[in-house]
């Protein structure tokens, strides 16, 4: 499939802040693509560049092979769902939806027909003559979707469209957006800071941080194989362990020497050479915890530890353990393996273990990203 919507080396600076720093992206036709990142990472600027509200300082934007970088917003076949919806308060729902067609000077009969079709798509036929202020949050959101879709844009931009809704409504609208995307087959560029939304809706995700893209890939790849400490820490939760590559007992697997722990095996598809200092990331739910020492198997890493804290979370329990001079978090579901299993308590001696394929060596590590993961509990006054 050809690249449909393309950003080439786009940069944008506001005063002293480099909002977007040389970003390149290729989005396929019909794709549901998410830009995911914390607030201030530059994702909204990217969206505004796509819509034409900002002109990049350098770099170009192409839509279907055409350079649209300098095209004003009204001349692009790109429409936006604004975070605040930005419905026109002085117009009825019907006139809001029909606005784009009226501006395009379409015949009245056609506008009427199209608006009715949209109203039935979003199931708001009975609210058509109300002003937007009288609608509920979910209804407003649907009007915003209809108002954009009626113009049959090449790309639909969505700026945190669910952020203003409460949790239950958000879950419903999530399904609805997914259905609409399937029905209309338009390319969606979805900007969000909510990893749940990005994971459940998108075909591919680009994770952004500080104006740059950290990683692009399908949701599972982003989660299972993070390439940078930022991605590992921002999406889900993780443990970071610093070590040195000792040797390669098997092709694609390295033995890692970690200060204060037994050696661990780790999948090494990146061919990091022996002797390099690396960082390992292991997600808490990938680690098992047990009172008994697990049978030893190749690629199974087992480490003795002491439980320092037990936090009950409902569906799961989180254990903080100390292994050597490292603190690890482990997430465990409550389904028991053995019926007579004794619960694990504070100060218990345990074994924690994980498969070599579940750890990842990071290409890029920044100390700052450690702040993004859950910090171990501290006693008051204990710095």
């Amino acid at each position: 499939m050809a690249e449909f919507f393309e950003f080439k080396n786009v940069s944008k600076r506001f005063g002293s802040i480099q909002a977007v720093d040389g970003v390149s992206l290729e989005i396929k036709r019909g794709e549901f693509f998410a830009l995911l990142g914390p607030s201030g990472c530059g994702k909204t600027t990217m969206l505004r560049v796509a819509a034409g509200f900002e002109t990049p300082d350098s770099g170009r934007v192409f839509l279907d092979g055409r350079d649209i970088t300098d095209l004003s917003p009204n001349r692009r076949r790109v429409n936006t769902i604004f975070q605040s919806y930005a419905l026109f308060p002085h117009l009825t729902v019907r006139d809001n939806i029909g606005f784009g067609l009226q501006i395009a000077k379409k015949p009245k009969a056609e506008i009427g027909r199209e608006v009715e079709a949209m109203l039935s798509l979003i199931r708001l036929e009975d609210q058509a003559d109300k002003k937007p202020d009288l609608l509920s949050g979910g209804q407003r959101q649907r009007v915003a979707v209809a108002r954009a879709l009626i113009n049959k844009p090449d790309v639909l931009l969505l700026d945190e469209p669910l952020a203003a809704l409460d949790l239950k409504l958000r879950q419903r609208m999530l399904i609805e957006l997914d259905l609409i995307h399937d029905q209309v087959g338009i390319t969606f560029l979805y900007v969000t800071h909510d990893q749940g939304e990005a994971m459940s809706l998108s075909d591919r995700i680009a994770v952004m941080n500080a104006g740059r893209i950290e990683q692009i890939g399908p949701p599972a790849e982003i989660y299972e194989a993070p390439r940078t400490s930022f991605v590992a820490a921002f999406i889900g939760d993780t443990n970071f362990l610093e070590g040195v590559v000792a040797d390669h007992p098997e092709p694609e697997y390295s033995r890692l020497r970690i200060d204060g722990l037994p050696d661990v095996m780790v999948y090494n598809d990146k061919q990091i050479a022996d002797g390099n200092k690396v960082f390992l990331s292991v997600r808490p739910e990938k680690i098992q915890i047990s009172r008994d020492r697990p049978e030893s198997k190749t690629k199974r890493n087992a480490v003795p530890a002491v439980v320092e804290d037990v936090i009950y979370l409902g569906p799961t329990t989180k254990y903080w353990v100390r292994a050597g001079n490292h603190r690890l978090q482990i997430l465990r579901q409550h389904a028991r393996f053995f019926l007579d299993e004794k619960p694990i308590r504070w100060k218990d001696d345990v074994w924690v273990f994980w498969h070599g394929d579940d750890g990842f060596m990071l290409e890029r590590f920044r100390r700052d990203d450690e702040k993004l993961v859950a910090a171990p509990p501290q006693k008051v006054g204990d710095e």
Partner: protein
């Protein structure tokens, strides 16, 4: 926690203080007596006499004519000013511009009156209706600009972006979204300019020439020359007009708010 009743008592007293003099004035306008003190029976005679004072009606016509013209000009100047202040907020020019808009509001009227008089005398402009209009526009611009600026600051400009996004050109977005949404603000600003112009006495008194008499100037000379019962009648008419205007404009803004789902 029990709240003190003192503020509510003061508020009641303040409202009595506000309305008692006005009430007495209205009652007196129907008093057959020449002096307010004693009630000599109900009468419309002062109103009848008022209708036979051509000077008052000429003054009223002048006032209306000036006010309409002033409203129109100051709405244009004040709105462009507010747009500039809002869009280019932080430039050095706009900081100076803002000071220039703001200062006339804190200058006592008499100073503005005397400085304009001196300017007109120095420039050799003949005092009359024209000088009144020029003076009124000068103090109305600031009020219009600040009222419109307030509306612009509350305005959610993503709505303009939404219109642009849906294919509207810059001018179309202004005409179909910005102006309709600013309309209530412009109406409020216009009403303020109109009222200020109709009501102004001090500045007008300084820059009015012979023959250019407005209603407040007429009322002032009647006060000075003791035509008390006639002023009572005229005041009652003006008060009725003011109350209706305030009431209607409140109703209008309330119904707009209701439609908006408040």
């Amino acid at each position: 926690m029990k709240r003190s009743r003192f503020p509510y008592i003061v508020t009641g007293a303040v409202l009595v203080f506000f309305y008692l003099p006005i009430l007495i004035l209205v009652v007196d306008s129907f008093n057959a007596s020449r002096f307010g003190g004693a009630w000599r029976g109900f009468s419309f005679k002062w109103y009848v006499r008022l209708f036979h004072e051509p000077a008052i009606w000429t003054a009223a016509r002048n006032t209306l004519f000036i006010a309409l013209f002033v409203t129109f000009v100051s709405l244009i100047l004040g709105t462009t000013s507010a747009l500039a202040l809002h869009r280019f907020a932080k430039t050095r020019l706009q900081r100076f511009h803002y000071t220039l808009i703001y200062t006339p509001l804190v200058v006592p009227e008499i100073l503005m009156g005397i400085s304009l008089l001196m300017a007109f005398v120095a420039a050799g402009v003949r005092l009359g209706m024209l000088t009144i209009v020029l003076a009124h526009v000068t103090f109305c611009i600031s009020y219009v600009a600040l009222v419109v600026l307030g509306r612009l600051q509350d305005f959610d400009f993503t709505i303009i972006e939404a219109a642009r996004d849906l294919g509207a050109s810059s001018w179309m977005a202004t005409r179909r979204v910005l102006i309709p949404m600013l309309a209530p603000g412009l109406a409020a600003a216009g009403l303020i300019a109109f009222t200020l112009s109709v009501d102004d006495f001090v500045i007008t008194f300084f820059v009015a020439g012979p023959g250019a008499t407005t209603l407040p100037i007429r009322v002032y000379s009647m006060i000075k020359h003791g035509a008390t019962p006639l002023i009572n009648a005229l005041s009652t008419l003006l008060l009725a007009l003011t109350f209706t205007t305030v009431f209607v404009s409140q109703r209008l803004s309330k119904s707009v708010a209701l439609e908006g789902g408040q």
